[in-house]
């Protein structure tokens, strides 16, 4: 890897920084507290699919492993259970083993926002209002133009995950939730199924057949109610099949992921043990699981909804850039 400087991006960089300022302004005017949090931690929440960066603290004969945080969630949930109230983090997060691409860099900026006493529907309205505020402040209009296409921030295009599979992949709701039938259907569509799980094939079909259609009809798309298996840390719906999670997209780009937070400590703990086991099995870097996080959940997480938004990706949309690199003055790759 090398250091690259891009002084030619100065104009867009300034606009991107204005966008970040507008986000702070909007959230603080709504009473969210800005959280200043560490990015190095001695423990992490086990997540089976994330690879991490590890480093070491050294002093004389003392050595201690530290890990760059892939998300600020472990800190924020502690604070929520202790009564911090509505709050947000806007800063760096780190994910290893995912190479640079137009939409991803290993060291990225994340906005993680929590509202207490509300669920994901409230957060959907809040996020749209924030996008609209930022767009008006930055471009003087509620209608974005991204790569030649116009997107109105007046409304969401709303769709459940089941509706999207029906519409874009011709997979019925029954097939979607019946793992065996879904795998057969994937095989019929020509996907390689031998040795792959329902989750593997679901994610592949979602990427191949659903995502390209999201956020391309003149409005951002809000895709909600994911199968429980894909929303393990969110509140289950009464249908027994789905849980309260949404993602939102503009021009096929995934921008944010929201949950009505799961407050059931027993279910949370089971989930963490499963993730820890799966991490071990997959040969990923081992790190101590964060017991304080589990204690915080046992103490009681208030009813709340949280969303994580990729700030650089939002910057691409707001400044009409085709890749994250175009927002940066210095990149390492």
């Amino acid at each position: 890897m090398k250091i690259h400087s891009h002084i030619q991006h100065l104009g867009r960089y300034k606009k991107y920084q204005n966008m970040v300022e507008l986000i702070h302004k909007y959230l603080q005017s709504k009473g969210y507290l800005l959280l200043d949090l560490p990015v190095m931690s001695p423990t992490l929440i086990p997540e089976s699919y994330l690879e991490i960066f590890e480093t070491e603290f050294q002093y004389m004969d003392t050595k201690e492993k530290l890990y760059l945080t892939p998300s600020p969630e472990l800190f924020i949930k502690r604070l929520l259970s202790e009564g911090v109230g509505d709050c947000y983090y806007l800063g760096k997060s780190f994910r290893n083993s995912e190479p640079h691409s137009p939409k991803h860099i290993p060291e990225f900026t994340m906005l993680e926002l929590y509202k207490t006493g509300e669920n994901y529907k409230y957060m959907a309205r809040e996020v749209l209002a924030m996008l609209s505020y930022v767009s008006r402040g930055l471009n003087g209009t509620n209608t974005l133009v991204y790569q030649g296409k116009s997107i109105s921030l007046e409304n969401w295009e709303e769709m459940t995950v089941a509706q999207a599979f029906e519409r874009y992949a011709s997979v019925s709701e029954d097939e979607l939730f019946d793992q065996r039938r879904f795998v057969r259907r994937a095989q019929g569509k020509g996907y390689a199924v031998e040795g792959f799980s329902y989750e593997d094939l679901w994610s592949q079909m979602y990427s191949q057949e659903i995502e390209p259609h999201l956020g391309v009809n003149g409005y951002p798309t809000l895709l909600y109610d994911y199968p429980v298996i894909f929303a393990a840390l969110s509140t289950p719906n009464l249908d027994g099949k789905t849980a309260q999670r949404f993602e939102f997209y503009i021009e096929g780009i995934e921008l944010g992921n929201c949950y009505s937070e799961l407050t059931d400590a027993t279910m949370q703990e089971k989930r963490l043990v499963d993730e820890y086991q799966e991490r071990k099995k997959s040969g990923k870097i081992e790190h101590p699981a964060d017991d304080g996080f589990v204690d915080a959940l046992k103490k009681g997480l208030p009813d709340s909804t949280g969303i994580a938004i990729g700030v650089e990706r939002l910057g691409m949309i707001m400044t009409d850039a085709s890749q994250i690199e175009d927002l940066k003055l210095i990149t390492i790759q």
Binding site: I7, Y49, E98, A192, D200
Partner: protein, 189 residues
């Protein structure tokens, strides 16, 4: 040879649904549940058609062995670029669709590498850099010294590139043919 899709690289050739395709773009990502994915853009070497396809990163894909043969670029017609193998003197036609936009930077008589599979030319291995002479550009207006200001210039193949203001007509420059960007002045002699 079978490789895991997560290891596919731009420029490689694969067998997919009975046809040969060249990988144009790859994007690895972890959706959070299930295996990581490899999103690709692939181009059919027969029809020139490009599609997006998402592989599971650990799914096996058949790559196609190709020879990279040094050939001389002779000329192009409406459909093909014509190359000559300098060893055998055989001529090969490569569809312009497979050569892509880089053809605008090719000078007749230059040598470059052509990918050949079963005697059939598939596409060109893009040179990292091409060296071309500027045939037309205006002198920059005095006082116009903003950091990264650029102007348009035409090179000897007829292609247009953006160059820094200090570059003059008649100078020889280097260009990255894949991005069409000016990369520097060619060192003389």
């Amino acid at each position: 040879m079978a490789v895991q899709a997560g290891n596919l690289k731009k420029g490689e050739f694969i067998n997919y649904q009975g046809d040969i395709w060249q990988v144009q773009k790859t994007e690895f990502y972890s959706p959070g549940k299930g295996s990581a994915l490899m999103r690709t853009k692939i181009k059919n070497v027969t029809s020139g058609k490009t599609i997006d396809y998402t592989f599971k990163s650990n799914e096996y894909v058949d790559t196609v062995e190709v020879n990279s043969i040094e050939m001389q670029y002779l000329y192009k017609d409406a459909e093909n670029a014509i190359f000559m193998d300098q060893q055998s003197f055989n001529q090969y036609e490569v569809p312009l669709e497979m050569v892509g936009d880089i053809i605008q930077f090719f000078k007749e008589g230059e040598t470059m590498y052509v990918y050949v599979h079963d005697e059939k030319p598939l596409s060109i291995r893009p040179p990292a850099s091409v060296t071309l002479k500027i045939t037309q550009t205006d002198d920059a207006a005095r006082g116009d010294t903003v950091g990264n200001a650029k102007k348009e210039a035409e090179v000897e193949t007829g292609a247009k590139v953006m160059v820094p203001l200090f570059i003059k007509q008649g100078e020889i420059i280097t260009i990255n043919p894949e991005t069409g960007e000016y990369t520097g002045r060619a060192t003389q002699g």
